[in-house]
């Protein structure tokens, strides 16, 4: 499986291919690993310098596991991670730790992401000291500058995390990540735990930092509403897989994957005469320990051409239009021939389905 080269023609900063992270779950009587949770199951994606790639999907679809596997905070089961031309999965020991400063992470929970026993300054300074970026008074000066950069008073360096609100803590976490001058930051639902009034401030801060520092983001969110303000391109995940990958504009204008079509979005379609139809997904996503056969989305799919072949054939992630990738063989064009679909019990030939309706048709 390949992934689209950038529209800008640049070489990717991060190239992930067929990444899989499986967790053994011990359910046997004697604790034998009986099943595996396929939290991430064959994900390929590229992130280009300075861009934001959004990762969207329901809770439990493997976004956090994907982000942490890319950073090797969780060791992946299979696949390759190339960062800045370096085979990141091959690194060990000091070489790995040295490389880590270039890939940072911002966490979802601002309360567990800061060590309550350390002052803000000590927390931000840790990366500076470990990578010998600055020491002593120079490090303190850096901390002050970083705090200022994330919109906090430099004097806060001597305070403890419990003295701050969730939004402020998130800013401290951002300063800690920035301290080591990363090229890529994985933002794992950085505003999900914050008050709505604070969310926009943190989003704007992240955008400003991206501009001033040329950062690339892997921006994880559980629905499209946050990502659409942030992302250049968006990958939609379902059950540990990437189901659709397109530029943010294309994805909102023409969501091809039936799952994407059902994701709530806050952006109105560009044409005021047309409106996105509200599709309500039925049921919960299946367990990643026991994913459905064929297309993993088939039990919840509303595509009119969905048929028996959907539970047999696993749809490849294919390029439906320029730079628009989607894993659904009922959405033409497809590389899965109709004969093959019929052979697998298919009764409905592929048919273009877009849940965008003209307003007058809705009466």
């Amino acid at each position: 499986m390949t992934v689209p080269p950038s529209a800008r023609g640049a070489t990717p900063l991060l190239s992930v291919r067929n990444l899989a992270t499986h967790f053994p779950v011990r359910t046997g009587l004697f604790g034998r690993p009986k099943a595996v949770v396929r939290a991430v199951d064959g994900v390929s994606l590229d992130v280009y310098p300075g861009e934001t790639l959004g990762i969207v999907g329901e809770s439990g679809c493997g976004k956090t596991t994907l982000g942490r596997s890319i950073l090797r905070l969780i060791e992946p089961t299979a696949g390759t991670i190339e960062f800045d031309g370096v085979d990141f999965r091959a690194l060990r020991g000091a070489a790995l730790r040295g490389m880590r400063r270039h890939l940072q992470i911002i966490f979802q929970d601002p309360f567990s992401s800061l060590n309550p026993r350390l002052t803000v300054g000590t927390t931000i300074k840790e990366g500076l000291l470990v990578h010998r970026i600055a020491e002593g008074a120079a490090a303190d000066a850096r901390v002050a500058k970083l705090l200022d950069e994330v919109g906090m008073q430099p004097a806060y360096a001597s305070r403890y995390p419990h003295e701050f609100s969730g939004g402020q803590r998130q800013r401290i976490g951002i300063a800690r990540a920035l301290a080591v001058e990363p090229k890529l930051i994985v933002c794992d639902e950085p505003v999900s735990a914050l008050d709505v009034s604070v969310q926009a401030q943190v989003i704007n801060l992240l955008k400003d930092l991206q501009k001033s520092r040329g950062l690339a983001y892997l921006f994880i969110a559980h629905d499209l509403s946050v990502v659409e303000h942030m992302a250049d391109r968006v990958a939609v995940m379902y059950l540990g897989r990437v189901m659709e990958l397109a530029s943010a504009g294309d994805l909102y204008r023409e969501p091809l994957m039936p799952y994407t079509q059902a994701l709530p979005s806050a952006v109105p379609t560009p044409d005021p005469e047309r409106k996105r139809m509200r599709i309500v997904l039925s049921g919960d996503p299946p367990s990643p320990a026991n994913p459905p056969s064929g297309c993993v989305f088939h039990p919840r799919c509303h595509h009119p051409a969905r048929d028996a072949s959907c539970s047999v054939i696993a749809p490849p992630l294919e390029e439906k239009a320029a730079q628009h990738w989607c894993a659904c063989f009922k959405q033409p064009p497809t590389v899965v021939p109709w004969d093959a679909q019929k052979g697998a019990g298919g009764t409905h030939p592929p048919e273009r389905h877009l849940p965008v309706q003209a307003l007058h048709q809705r009466g």
Partner: protein, 305 residues
């Protein structure tokens, strides 16, 4: 009487499931102790004992093994010999002063040794997890299955001419198993916290994460256990000396002074009462302090913070 303290020591393994809910700063701990009458009394009592022990050579009128002469054997307390004299005509006050020095030193050092070993062992196991955790904690389970007294008695009876430092080693290295379980529980509680992941993502080495993030988090409960451990070691040491298995004579310890009077305790009550009171008083003080420290760690378990 000799094995009463020993039996009390069988119950030292604290529950491994209790995880500290809050973290305290040094100031929190100090405030919890000093802001309470019992805590103040305990600190005052211990400070006095430590002061007396440190100044033993200045205060004492005699040397601890000096024989005052046949006419001064087994004399009850008097103005000249406030704590009386023992069977060998030695001044008991002098022996108490020097004995306090040695008993407290052994107890503090041994408890600290237990605290440090237990903290590092448990924190490492909990933080690294997996096979290393299993290996480290299974060995702890094994040692916990043997009563500490039995362990101590075995080593001590095989060790000829045990010095006070040797006793520190024996008592310290048999007292950390329960502590390590506490430390492990704390480490398990934070190993998946995001600030630990953040440190890994920053490229902080495992060793540094252990020392900077994991160990400090386990410090509170370990401090409480170590404080309680001081009392346990005191009593254990006294029991050993009483059995003649502790520090070799003529070195005085609280336990050996009691042992000196054990043949004739109906008559020479002062050989039992003074060291006995020191022993009980110190144990009470140490437990009172541990109790106050626990208030910081589990504020909800104890009313009246």
């Amino acid at each position: 009487m000799a094995d009463t303290p020993a039996v009390a020591n069988l119950a030292i393994a604290p529950p491994a499931t209790v995880v500290a809910e809050t973290v305290g700063t040094t100031r929190d701990y100090w405030r919890a102790i000093w802001g309470n009458t019992g805590g103040k009394v305990a600190i005052a009592f211990l400070s006095l004992l430590i002061l007396l022990a440190l100044l033993a050579s200045v205060i004492a009128a005699h040397s601890p093994s000096e024989l005052l002469g046949p006419e001064l054997t087994s004399r009850p307390p008097s103005w000249a010999y406030p704590f009386g004299t023992d069977v060998l005509s030695r001044d008991v006050l002098t022996r108490m002063l020097y004995g306090t020095r040695i008993s407290l030193r052994i107890a503090l050092l041994a408890a600290t040794l237990s605290g440090v070993v237990g903290l590092l062992w448990g924190a490492t196991a909990g933080y690294l997890g997996g096979a290393i955790d299993a290996l480290l904690m299974r060995s702890v389970d094994m040692f916990l299955a043997i009563p500490r007294v039995l362990l101590v008695l075995t080593v001590v009876s095989l060790w000829p001419d045990l010095s006070p430092d040797g006793l520190v080693l024996v008592l310290g290295l048999t007292g950390w198993f329960g502590v390590s379980r506490l430390a492990r529980a704390q480490a398990l509680g934070i190993r998946h916290r995001e600030f630990v992941s953040a440190a890994h993502a920053l490229g902080v080495s495992r060793y540094r994460v252990l020392v900077r993030h994991v160990v400090p988090h386990a410090l509170g409960p370990v401090l409480v256990a170590t404080t309680i451990g001081v009392g346990h070691v005191l009593v254990l040491e006294a029991g050993l000396s009483f059995l003649g298995l502790g520090v070799r004579p003529p070195t005085p310890t609280w336990g050996s002074i009691i042992a000196d009077g054990s043949e004739s305790y109906q008559v020479t009550w002062w050989l039992t009462v003074f060291p006995g009171m020191a022993l009980i008083g110190t144990s009470l003080a140490v437990n009172a302090i541990a109790h106050r420290l626990r208030v910081v760690i589990h504020p909800r378990q104890l009313p009246g913070r």
